[in-house]
Amino acid sequence: MNAEALTAIEKAADAAPIPMALLAELTHRCPLKCPYCSNPLDLIRRSSELSAETWADVFAQAAAMGVLHVHLSGGEPAARRDLPEIVESAVTAGLYTNLITSGVGLTEATFADLVARGLDHVQLSIQGTDATTADRIGGYKGGFDTKMRVAAWIVAAGVPLTVNAVMHRQNLDRLSETIDLAVRLGARRLEVAHTQYHGWAYRNRAALMPTPGQVARSGEIVAEARRRLEGVLAIDYVTPDHLAKYPKPCMGGWGRVGLNVTPSGKVLPCHAAETIPGLVFDTVTERPLAEIWREGAAFTAFRGTGWMQEPCASCPRKAVDWGGCRCQALAWTGDAAATDPACTLSPHNARMRAEATGEAADADEAFAYREM
């Protein structure tokens, strides 16, 4: 590629693409206390939550910008009594409406109401494959049994179910059981997500980081299950960051694919962006969403490639993974504009790996639970 072509690509990369997805964090309230929760350490209270009418307006604006999917998330979205109204307004805006829930707090009647209003899909998180483990990790007794009931309602209503399992050292050995459970529940998809190490998870990394042996085994388990379950269960699986050669593109690239709106209406390029000091966020009640996306300071800060340092700046992969995760870079190097330490080209990679292997070898099983 010649220099001119490269400049053209970089210019195009720095312009705002059409967004695909909106993550609407309806509330931070949640009965569970997962130690890898991606909500900020500083949680928003009920009194500052956006109203259902404001959400309806946000959805309409998002749809007009070209957003296709909305993910209603939290916290636990079912903690909001007006969830049915909110779902309806997303459907009316023409968005593909996905509910991300722990299942706890959802009643059968409310769920039926959501279905009647056009909910497209439910993503149910599971914390483990048996009640004892799951309830310990979620920090909530009875949570597991509730989920099993909720899954049955979803499948009975014909709504597609995705089971989302966040994996880490303390449950990765149960991956086969997790896959079996997803099939038993009637899920169409299983998302096996590895914990990313910032926020609560960075704080709990000693108890969460999987061993390289565990990761290698889980790759094999997934490959086998994918063959066996083709047409039954689609499995999404990504190798954990710190053991792959290159990082994952953060959100498909900062300010490229998706945006998040927090319970109080702040618009973030990623759910953890508030951990980055110095970023200034716009609010949906003060500025049109399209303008925030296109030229908001937080979105332009790391969009494209212009902000990059070495080794990213001269790396041929810079428009492939976009330098990886900003929040992870910050947590491990103190600089959000640094190369993601999960990248083998980062000068901090060796330390991250050493710490990961060291911490994974630790027998520390205690968590600092997420708290309001």
Partner: protein, 93 residues
């Protein structure tokens, strides 16, 4: 995955749907965590799935609409649908 049999009726299951995106000027197949941008052929195939027509009927309709040889249409449509069936974005009854 071999795709739909001639006599089976392929359909989009609940939670999978076609949507015209005016901003991009294109049809999309929307499914859980997926948005597949469709070309003219893809959207024609999927629009022909009404849950009533069997695969042979889908092929007959498409070859009539496009004036294309049925064997060619059958091969292409089966391959296209097989891929979506493997991802559980199309089912067949």
């Amino acid at each position: 995955m071999t795709g739909p049999e001639d006599g089976s009726r392929p359909y989009l299951p609940r939670g999978v749907r076609l949507r015209w995106c005016a901003v991009r000027g294109a049809w999309f197949l929307l499914a859980p965590e997926r948005a597949v941008k469709l070309d003219a052929v893809g959207s024609a195939i999927l629009s022909a799935l009404d849950g009533e027509r069997d695969f042979a009927g889908v092929v007959a309709k498409l070859s009539a609409d496009f004036g294309a040889p049925p064997e060619q249409v059958a091969t292409d449509a089966r391959k296209f649908l097989a891929d979506l069936m493997a991802r559980r974005m199309v089912e067949a009854a």
